[in-house]
């Protein structure tokens, strides 16, 4: 588990009972998180990594799972 994934899971832990979910699990489809989480995730990514999430980034594929979020952050950092 890399540093980004550790931090993402730590953040996720504030919203779900078990943050050690499968990395590919669709958090929204599984009903684990709600729309309030969605904006807080945006704020977490921006605050923690100093990157701006913009309208161009509004793609479900970027936020749906732990792995998707990690990949999104990694790409935005480049």
């Amino acid at each position: 588990m890399n540093e980004i994934e550790t931090k993402v899971r730590s953040f996720l832990g504030k919203y779900v009972s078990d943050p050690e979910v499968d990395g590919d699990l669709d958090l929204f489809s599984a009903g684990l998180v709600n729309s309030l989480y969605a904006m807080q995730l945006v704020l977490f990514i921006e605050q923690e990594y100093g990157i701006q999430v913009t309208n161009e980034d509004l793609d479900y594929e970027n936020f749906k799972s732990v792995q998707a979020i990690v990949q999104f952050i990694t790409l935005k950092q480049k």
């Binding site: 309030l36 704020l43 479900y60």
Partner: protein, 393 residues
């Protein structure tokens, strides 16, 4: 060390806002309430003095006000006129949404006009059949073969909908929520003023009707599917933040009016303020207004740093401050007795406006649902961490 004191710069800003509302709003707010309209001349004055675009970033011609100063401004507006507070609230909701989620083209086109007040914006989410259940809005958009969209639907209780020239309208597109910018002069768009409301009587409310309104793809804010979770959520967070601070001002106004009245009104040979049952009401007003202000200060601190918890803490501040305003204004009417029920005193307006505060930008009941859920989740996390610690030890 915790420090809740305002800086010299913030104190000066608050004084400037106080002077502005004392000059332009306080003497006229009851008249506007009776006339059920905020005059264009006052809106022009706000625009001229830079208050309508205060949150627009400097690079787009605005003031780029920080969250705390914005809160202090909203407190002063709330102290003078809840209706006028709603003007800057909806304007700021559109501004923050465009700053966060607008395309480069949308930002360049609209933010300078929102900064100067040339454009007044309104927020079109609520519908005749849909209030709290905002995910199930019925207004819809259909994509044409040429890539443009046709919008049909109705929006209700839209603050300053009768005045605005730009509307952030939420619709369903293939069962996915999405937001569009709709302009007042577009064919098929009409805004019908609403009169006879209990409170917010000079908030220039309107019913909006959209009949085959044609908009281009460039008018879409964000992307389909994100209209509620991200676009509306950003706007509503800003709305709750502004309303929470405004409620502090409303409570403060009720307190100041009550102190003034209770000091002058003599019953049973002494001023009301010396009667213990009056003191009980005044005490509750003082403490709850201070507590509401502290919650707002906390939310502003989190907003300044972009801390994710700002969303829940803003919701908490709005919930508490609006309930405090309801209670404080209710007590203010009670302290004033029959005078408080007459148009000779502003407390009856405060009382009516406070009732609206518990309904707009998420009712108290909706706030209770999300605050309790978040509180339970926080408890679960704490339990998990304690158990993990105990297993390690």
């Amino acid at each position: 060390m915790l420090n809740f004191d305002l800086t010299e710069d913030q104190i000066q800003a608050k004084k400037t806002y106080q002077q502005w509302v004392d000059q332009y709003v306080v003497p006229f707010a009851d008249t506007f309430d009776e006339q059920q309209e905020t005059p264009q001349s006052l809106i022009n004055q706000m625009a001229k003095d830079g208050h309508l675009g205060a949150l627009v970033p400097v690079e787009y011609g605005g003031v780029g006000l920080d969250p705390l100063k914005w809160g202090l401004f909203c407190e002063e507006l709330g102290r003078s006129s809840a209706s006028l507070l709603s003007l800057v609230t909806v304007q700021s909701m559109a501004i923050q949404t465009l700053v966060k989620w607008g395309s480069t083209q949308q930002k360049e086109k609209w933010l300078p006009k929102l900064a100067t007040g040339e454009t007044i914006a309104a927020f079109g989410l609520t519908e005749p059949s849909v209030g709290s259940d905002a995910r199930n809005i019925e207004s819809s958009a259909v994509c044409n073969d040429d890539g443009n969209y046709v919008i049909n639907g109705k929006k209700r209780w839209i603050s300053f909908g009768a005045t605005a020239t730009l509307y952030l309208v939420f619709v369903q597109l293939n069962n996915m929520p999405v937001a569009f910018l709709v302009e007042r002069d577009m064919k098929g768009f009409t805004a019908e003023p609403i009169k006879g409301m209990l409170g917010f009587r000079s908030a220039n409310l309107a019913d909006l009707s959209l009949q085959d309104v044609l908009v281009s793809e460039d008018s879409m804010v964000g992307k389909p599917g994100f209209g509620f979770s991200h676009i509306a959520a950003t706007a509503l967070d800003q709305g709750r933040y502004s309303i929470a601070w405004g409620c502090v001002g409303l409570s403060q106004a009720a307190l100041e009016a009550s102190m003034d009245y209770a000091s002058k009104r003599v019953q049973f040979g002494k001023p009301l303020v010396e009667h213990q049952l009056i003191q009980e009401m005044l005490t509750e007003m003082i403490v709850e207004t201070k507590a509401a202000r502290m919650l707002c200060m906390h939310a502003s601190f989190l907003k300044s740093s972009g801390e994710p918890s700002l969303i829940m803490e803003t919701s908490t501040a709005k919930y508490y401050a609006s309930k405090a305003a309801t209670k404080s204004t209710n007590s203010a009417v009670q302290i004033h007795g029959a005078n408080g029920c007459s148009s000779d005193f502003p407390v009856q307006r405060y009382f009516r406006d406070a009732r609206i505060m518990e309904i707009i930008e998420g009712s108290s009941q909706m706030q209770q649902i999300i605050i309790a859920k978040a509180g339970h989740q926080e408890f679960t996390v704490q339990q998990r961490e304690r158990n993990a610690q105990s297993n390690r030890g």
